[in-house]
Structure formats: structure tokens, C-alpha cells
């Protein structure tokens, strides 16, 4: 791998947390005077406007005003605002790179400034759904192009030459005819006084002129701060006179404090106060869970104080939740007809006439996101203004909810977004930030930081759903499927917001269950009811995990029953290259994207399968105990296929010498970070497949730290991960997501490889000791 180019990095001043204020942030934007009122007029919405998709359909949509995103100082340094949260995907590098490229800025002189939560100003900031680049590539290109045009216009005016005679090049505007040149710093003041140009007048670069887009040669802007310990995460926030809190929360969803005794806790040295946080009625929503907070001079005292609390809980209506019993309930539900969510042909008749019927059930447990930085937030309230510092994926939502809980107008709440030490969906929910706000309020505005311990994080996540997928196929005499019946049973994320929600919502159904792109004439998908007994939330790639596991395992089982090669069988099931309108396969959601721009393209799915199997040497001889396994999955409008090679030793210990991953995500903006996301998704996929399980008993989570909720470590990680990016230099094509789609195919590829190596079929996750020989 070639060495990466480093730039001047993050605007470290904006991360000096002590004494930082909103004024400081605005000042940094005001450096070159590139802050003017106005900008682009809002897009008028007609009454009869057709359904919106993509960024247009997200809350507060997008903004492409250069005055909002770019500031140029007289010394030539360019500040570019990143309004999406950084949690390891590299977005604080990749989005500003897009602006810098169109701006013709020298990356060495670019600083990145993190936006606070303010979607009216910046556009949508919900950093989830693998959407940041997909939704903001074009707006950020226009930001850069507009700022470049303003600089060119200023130079042409100063030289009194036509605009057509000047051009921007690497931080300067040139007039080739006269040889004159002015630096961006010299032009900043004059450019800032110009009106923002119309979108129609912008000239975007031709892809062959890109300096940074598609190259992947730039180091993460936070890299040096990270390896030297200077990077500031939410948990690192330090404010003057700040207090530290931990909270004892109800162990069961819907529980509350009956009574508590704080006498012993208050005797712990450096403990200052014990405060009850009231529990809210269900649904859980984004509300804090309630409980008893211990506030101290430092975190260790707060933790010791919490240990000394005596609390009696009312465990509420979900105190009987038991994972073993619930699995039996889900199996029973999956063996009965359920709500039909897709139906084509006559599945019952085809099943009855089939030469052979095969059925299998696949179980996948709850998971916790377990970001290495647990949830944490610091809040102070000064003169009626609430200031938040938080590792949040959803700064605008956080702002709205904190304002509501404190009964403040939204403009009296500032949410400063720190780096996130991992998010994976957990930090989209602002419950932990509201806790900090309530505790600061209880301390009359004094700064309070709430730190979640690892035990808190695992016991009180918004859990990935538990699921039972039952698949049945009717095969003809040659083993080809005539009928496909899929029953999917899982408590829904919808139940976190509406307690009577017992069926999956369209986004869950559109995550690989109704939109399975197989060319089977008779196909039905059913969704029997399932009640939620804990907070269900989104976890990196969400419901795609159990669907890819079940479907891609079942196809391998069918291929095996037919005595055919798995790859050939899978390609035949997908059928010829075609573009399927997602609405025709009962997917009304389509990842929020336009069905015309983003159809299900089976040709692209076929190509990633061919690419992964070619690269992995599909069909090659492998040593004894080794096996190759294949899986492919379409999610977040990106196509991924994986071939895993496993090695299972005499004792049944699983090793993973190599994984090949082929990806078609459309245009690639930062291929280097795409590769790192795919490598990371692979290892997270290995982790959940081999070890990941959250279980409940008596309504409460059984796992409380990393000995019980194990994560893959370096010694059990794949020794080699090869990422194969399909050509992605046609920037007119729509972009796919990258943060999530690498994860779903990993577990089935591993399980299919295990079958190839051992003949043992894994139908429940995690694999744990299922392969062990006693």
C-alpha cells in the first residue's frame, strides 16, 4: 500500500474543548469573510410535487451554499465544514475532499471544521443508513464549484478581464494571457462580497480533472491526533468545574425505581450528590431510561458510589423476557402462516407438486453495537443556554430532544459533535445525552459529564433484533426451485416507538427479505407477529444480517441437495441480468431511493459474484480441513459478494486464512477508506458470526462485559482480507452506500465455508463452540 498524504489536519482549535464557545465556531467560519447572509433561495415545493427520494426525502434535505461550508482566510488557509459525524468511516476526510477538489484547493492548506447540530443551516445530519457520500457528493461538489467561481469572478474583476479568460488552479486564480496570478488568500475578501452564483452557472469538473476524488491518497485528517492521543471523543470532554456522573438504570425495559437508599453512596469520598431520573412510560423511544445517578468529582468515585446504592426496582411488564423461551415462541410462529408481505405465483400449488421439499430455520440472536467508546455526553447550562458535547450520530435530533426535555427553545441548545469512538447505530439515539442534560439541570447548570460504563452499554443498548427465518423450497426433479416460501419472525424497531407494533416495518422488509432478486415463479414472503420486550434499534446493516445469513445459507443447502456447484446454482437463481423495479417485488421503501435511479440490478449482483469467485480461485484445491464459502447480498444500494476460506482443525477450532470481497458501490470517492470500511465490516461480520450474542433472562441482559459478550480479537481475525472494487469511475452513475453493506454476506460465507470444510451446517448464530469436538 502506498503512503498516504497528510494535510494540515483537523482545525484543532475547534476541538479545544475547554472554554470553547459557539462564538469561537462562528469566528472560525468568518475568517475570510466568507460568511454572508442569504445564499441559495430555498427550493419551492409545489403542492402536487411527486414523491421525494434520496437526500430530498430526508429531514431538512441538503444544503449546497458555499457560504455555509467554506471559509478562506487571508493567509490562504481554507476551512471546510463537515456536517456529518465521524465514527471511523472517514467522512471528515472524504466529504471535505470533494469540496476541495471542485474548489481547486490545495489539500495541504485545508482544515476541517465540524458542524454543530443545525440541519436548517447544514442539511440533514443523521449519520446512518450509509448515506453521507451518497446524499452529499453532488451538493458538496456544487459547494466547491460555486466557491471556485466566486474566486475566479473576483480575480477577473480585479484584472478587468472577461471571466472566460481566467481559471482556478491549485489555490490560485490564473490569467494565462498575461501571466498574472492571485492566491486564494489574496482573493478571499473580494470573493466573499460577491453574490453566490446560480446553480445553473456552475461548471463541475470533468472526472479526468479530479485531483482527489477517486484517488484515495489522502490520510485521514484526524489520523495524527488519533495516534498521538490528542483526538477528542465525547468521553474526553473536559469543562471547567465539570462533575462526573454514572447512572444505575432499570434492568428491564419499562421498569422504574420503587425506592432507593443513597446513604452509603454519599459516604464514598468525592461523591457529591445522588439524583433520581424519572423513568418515562413506554414506548421507549429515545427517552432516558430513568434510574438513580451518582454525581461525583471524578468518574471513579461515581462508579464506586453507584455500587453502594441500594435500589428496589419495579421491573414492569417485560420482566419475564427470556431468550430461550422466546426462541421457542418464534419457531412456533414461523411454522404457522403469517401476514403476507410479498406474493407471486401460487406457492402452495408449486410446493405440493414439487419433486422434493426442503425447509430450514435459521436463528440469529440479539447483538449490542458495543462501540469501543461507550455512550458519553457532557452538558452545561449557562444563562439559559444549554451547551452539549457529545459523540452523536444524530446532532439535530439530539438538539430537538434536549430542548424538549429542558423546555428550552431549540436555539438555546447547541450540540457540539465530537469524534465518535465507533457508533454502529447506537449513537443515533440521544438517550444518554438527555441524561447529561437533566443532571446538569439538577446541578443548576454546572457542567456534568455522563459516562456509560461497558456494563451500561451492553445492558442498555438499543439491541439488534433477535430473529428466526424459516425458508422452504419446492424443487423440481433436477433440484431447481419451483417455489420459495420465507417466513421472517423478529421483533421490530417499530416497537421502540409504537408498543403495539408486532410486524416489521417497510425498511425492515426491504432489507433483503421481500426484495430477494431470485428468478423463481412462485415466491411468497410472510411476516408472523412478534412482540418486542427490549429496546430494538438499528445495528450496522440492521435486518440485512439475519436475511443474508438465512437466504445465502439456504441457497447453498439447495445447491448441495441438487448436487450442484454453489456459485452456478446461485447465478441461476438470480437469473439473467435485468433491472427490477423494487415496487414490483413489494419493496415500497428501496432504501429511500428512487426506484428509477436505483433499481435492483441483477447484472451487477452477478458481476460481484463472478469477481469474488474469480479472485478467490473458486473451485481450487484446498488443504484438508479447509473450505471455501460464497455469499452475496445487495443492501444500501451496493452489491457485495464474499468468498471466505476457513480452516477447521482437529479440535474444531475455526481459523480464517483469507477472505475475498468484491464490491460494486458505483462511483468511488475515496477508495482507500472504502477498502478500510470493507475490511472492518468483514471483521465485525466474523465477530458476530463466531461470538456475538446478547441473551435475556428475567427481562434483563445476561452479558455485562467483554468476557461474556466477546468480540473477535487479532488472533482469530482473518489473516488476509482482499477487497476487490469493481470499476467505479463513471461519476454520472448513482452512488451506493459503503459503511454497512460489507457486513451481511460475511456470516453466510463463513458458514458455507464451514460446510465445505466439515460437512457441518450451521443454522444458528453465533458459531461459538458448535464445531468443537469433545
Amino acid at each position: 500500500m502506498k503512503a498516504l498524504v497528510e494535510n494540515s489536519g483537523a482545525d484543532s482549535d475547534s476541538f479545544s474543548i475547554i472554554n470553547v464557545s459557539r462564538r469561537r465556531f462562528l469566528k472560525s467560519l468568518a475568517l475570510g469573510g466568507f460568511v454572508l447572509a442569504g445564499g441559495f433561495p430555498p427550493v419551492a415545493l409545489a403542492e402536487d410535487e411527486p414523491k421525494k427520494y434520496g437526500a430530498d426525502a430526508m429531514p431538512h434535505g441538503w444544503v449546497d451554499n458555499p457560504l455555509v461550508f467554506v471559509a478562506i482566510a487571508e493567509d490562504g488557509s481554507v476551512s471546510i465544514v463537515c456536517h456529518r459525524s465521524e465514527m471511523g468511516q472517514g467522512i471528515r476526510t472524504s466529504l471535505p475532499l470533494v469540496v476541495a477538489d471542485e474548489l481547486e484547493a490545495n489539500w495541504l492548506h485545508v482544515k476541517v471544521v465540524q458542524a454543530p447540530g443545525d440541519e436548517v443551516r447544514f442539511g440533514n445530519q443523521d449519520t446512518d443508513g450509509s448515506r453521507s457520500m451518497r446524499h452529499f457528493f453532488m451538493p458538496m461538489r456544487r459547494v466547491g464549484a460555486a466557491a471556485r467561481l466566486m474566486l475566479e469572478t473576483a480575480a477577473a474583476a480585479q484584472w478587468r478581464v472577461p471571466l472566460t479568460e481566467v481559471r482556478a488552479e491549485l489555490h490560485h486564480v490564473l490569467h494565462p494571457a498575461s501571466g498574472k496570478r492571485l492566491s486564494y488568500g489574496e482573493l478571499a475578501k473580494a470573493a466573499a462580497k460577491l453574490p453566490v452564483p446560480d446553480r445553473e452557472s456552475l461548471k463541475l469538473k470533468q472526472p479526468e480533472d479530479f485531483r482527489y476524488i477517486g484517488k484515495g491518497e489522502q490520510l485521514s485528517v484526524d489520523g495524527r491526533d488519533i495516534v498521538s492521543g490528542r483526538a477528542q471523543y465525547g468521553i474526553d470532554t473536559r469543562l471547567p468545574d465539570m462533575l462526573h456522573a454514572v447512572v444505575a438504570r432499570p434492568p428491564v425495559m419499562g421498569g422504574k425505581v420503587l425506592h432507593y437508599d443513597a446513604a452509603e453512596a454519599l459516604k464514598v469520598p468525592d461523591v457529591i450528590k445522588v439524583v433520581e431520573i424519572k423513568s418515562s412510560p413506554l414506548p421507549a423511544d429515545f427517552n432516558p431510561l430513568g434510574g438513580v445517578a451518582v454525581i461525583a468529582k471524578h468518574t471513579w468515585a461515581a462508579i464506586q458510589g453507584r455500587k453502594a446504592l441500594k435500589i428496589d426496582w419495579d421491573n414492569g411488564p417485560h420482566a419475564a423476557y427470556d431468550s430461550a423461551a422466546y426462541r421457542t415462541e418464534m419457531e412456533a410462529a414461523a411454522r404457522q402462516p403469517g401476514k403476507v408481505v410479498r406474493n407471486q405465483g401460487d406457492v402452495d400449488a408449486a410446493l405440493n407438486s414439487a419433486a422434493q421439499r426442503l425447509a430450514a430455520e435459521y436463528y440469529a440472536p440479539h447483538l449490542a453495537q458495543a462501540p469501543m467508546e461507550p455512550p458519553a455526553a457532557a452538558v452545561r447550562i449557562v444563562n439559559g443556554h444549554c451547551e452539549v458535547w457529545a459523540c452523536t450520530q444524530a446532532p439535530q435530533l439530539t438538539r430537538e430532544r434536549v430542548a424538549k426535555w429542558l423546555d428550552l427553545p431549540e436555539d438555546k441548545v447547541t450540540v457540539n459533535v465530537t469524534l465518535l469512538g465507533g457508533g454502529f447505530g447506537r449513537k443515533s439515539k440521544p438517550d444518554y445525552v438527555i441524561e447529561a442534560a437533566l443532571l446538569s439541570q439538577a446541578m443548576h447548570g454546572q457542567a456534568v459529564k455522563v459516562t456509560w460504563t461497558r456494563e451500561d452499554d451492553l445492558r442498555h443498548a438499543y439491541f439488534h433484533t433477535v430473529s428466526l427465518e424459516r425458508l422452504e423450497a419446492g424443487l423440481d426433479s433436477r433440484g431447481n426451485p419451483l417455489a420459495w416460501l420465507h417466513r421472517t419472525v423478529a421483533p421490530s424497531i417499530g416497537a421502540t416507538f409504537a408498543p403495539d407494533s408486532k410486524h416489521q416495518i417497510p425498511p425492515e422488509l426491504g432489507m433483503g427479505v421481500v426484495n430477494v432478486p431470485f428468478a423463481i415463479a412462485n415466491l411468497r414472503v410472510e411476516n408472523p407477529a412478534a412482540e418486542a420486550h427490549t429496546r430494538i434499534g438499528w445495528f450496522r446493516s440492521v435486518s440485512n444480517i439475519p436475511r443474508a445469513f438465512a437466504i445465502q445459507s439456504f441457497v447453498a443447502e439447495l445447491a448441495s441437495a441438487a448436487g450442484r456447484d454453489h456459485k452456478d446454482y446461485l447465478l441461476d437463481l438470480i437469473g439473467p441480468a435485468r433491472r427490477i423495479d423494487p415496487r414490483e417485488i413489494s419493496d415500497s421503501w428501496n432504501q429511500g431511493e428512487s426506484p428509477e435511479i436505483y433499481p435492483v440490478d441483477t447484472g451487477r449482483l452477478r458481476r460481484v459474484i463472478e469477481a469474488a469467485t474469480d479472485a478467490a480461485g473458486w473451485g481450487r484445491d484446498v488443504p484438508k480441513g479447509h473450505g471455501l464459502g460464497l455469499a452475496a447480498h445487495y443492501s444500501f444500494v451496493t452489491y457485495v459478494a464474499v468468498v471466505a476460506e476457513v480452516a477447521v482443525d482437529e479440535e474444531g477450532k475455526l481459523g480464517i486464512p483469507r477472505v475475498d470481497i468484491a464490491v460494486d458501490c458505483g462511483p468511488q470517492v475515496n477508495p482507500e477508506r472504502i477498502r478500510s470500511q470493507l475490511e472492518g465490516a468483514c471483521i465485525m461480520g466474523v465477530s458476530l458470526a463466531s461470538l456475538g450474542e446478547i441473551g435475556f433472562k428475567d427481562g434483563a441482559v445476561l452479558q455485562d462485559n467483554f468476557h461474556a459478550y466477546q468480540l473477535t480479537r487479532i488472533d482469530d481475525a482473518p489473516r488476509e482480507i482482499r477487497v476487490h472494487l469493481l470499476p467505479g469511475s463513471d461519476y454520472d452513475k448513482p452512488l451506493g452506500g459503503i459503511g454497512e453493506p460489507g457486513l451481511p454476506p460475511i456470516a453466510p460465507a463463513l458458514c458455507n465455508a464451514i460446510f465445505a470444510a466439515t460437512g457441518r451446517r450451521i443454522r444458528q448464530l453465533p458459531i461459538k463452540d458448535q464445531l468443537r469436538k469433545d
Partner: protein, 155 residues
């Protein structure tokens, strides 16, 4: 009041003697590069060096550290081995979210100080105390080997 030698400087810490070094560094001294991840020696995010040995600060009370030489991530830019490790981490783009990486850098630096040319098995042994949830392990392994190569070539 306990006095500790941290990154070559004598620091007075006014915290109860059972306080783990992790919280003394973070809350007492403002050295937040050493991270909390589990609190019970399971994840390695809090790895520091005590007399040159990789040590988990979350389970090491400050009362045990008088007279010992404590080094944290904040001092690695001045450490010859630490510099090579940091440079390799950057040039291979190891970090994703980066939260565990100070601990990974400290563990890798301690490994290379004791074993200049670690084999894969040595890397497995030394680095398996450190969890990375983003999954940067293949790059961590490559970066340790690159740093080892540069240390070997150093004058």
C-alpha cells in the same frame, strides 16, 4: 496526595489511593489519550507503559505506582520506537474511529521494544489483549511489521 512519574514529570495527584491509574490520568491530570473501554482488563484501550511493560491502567491502582516510570500515549511522539509505530499506523491508514488506537500503539510499541522482529505468533500474543471494534487488525499486523522493518534499518 500521591506523587507519580508520568512521561518524565513528577505529578501530584489528590485522589483516593485505590483510584485506578486510568481515572487518575483522565480525570485528575487531563491526559485523555488513555481510553476507558471495559474497566476490568478485557479490552486494552487503557494500555500504558509502567517501567517499559505494557500495563492496563484500568486495573492498576495509583497506590502501587510510586517510584515507577509511567509512560502514556502522549509521550510516544518523543519515543524512538513509538515514533516508528505512529508513522507506520499513519502511512498504512490503520485507524478507523481511532478510539482503541492509543492502546494499540502502546501495546505495539511495548512489543517492539522487547522483540524487534516479532513473528505473527508474537503479534497475536502481544496484541490479542486489545479489542478493535472497527476491525483494523489486518492493518495493525501490517503496520507492526512495517515499523519493525524501519527500526531494523534505523541508524
Amino acid at each position: 496526595m500521591i506523587t507519580l512519574s508520568i512521561n518524565g514529570v513528577q505529578r501530584s495527584i489528590d485522589l483516593p489511593p485505590d483510584t485506578p491509574l486510568l481515572w487518575a490520568l483522565r480525570d485528575g491530570l487531563g491526559l485523555t489519550g488513555t481510553k476507558y473501554g471495559c474497566g476490568i482488563a478485557l479490552c486494552g484501550a487503557c494500555t500504558v507503559h509502567v517501567d517499559g511493560q505494557a500495563t492496563l491502567a484500568c486495573v492498576t491502582p495509583i497506590s502501587e505506582l510510586a517510584g515507577k516510570n509511567i509512560q502514556t500515549i502522549e509521550a510516544m511522539a518523543e519515543d524512538a520506537t513509538g515514533q516508528k509505530v505512529q508513522a507506520a499506523w499513519l502511512s498504512l491508514g490503520v485507524p478507523q474511529c481511532g478510539y482503541c488506537q492509543p492502546g494499540q500503539v502502546m501495546a505495539a510499541t511495548a512489543l517492539l521494544k522487547h522483540n524487534a522482529q516479532p513473528a505473527d505468533a508474537d503479534i497475536d500474543k502481544a496484541m490479542s489483549r486489545n479489542i478493535c471494534r472497527c476491525g483494523t487488525y489486518t492493518r495493525i499486523r501490517a503496520a507492526i511489521k512495517q515499523a519493525a522493518g524501519e527500526l531494523e534499518n534505523a541508524p
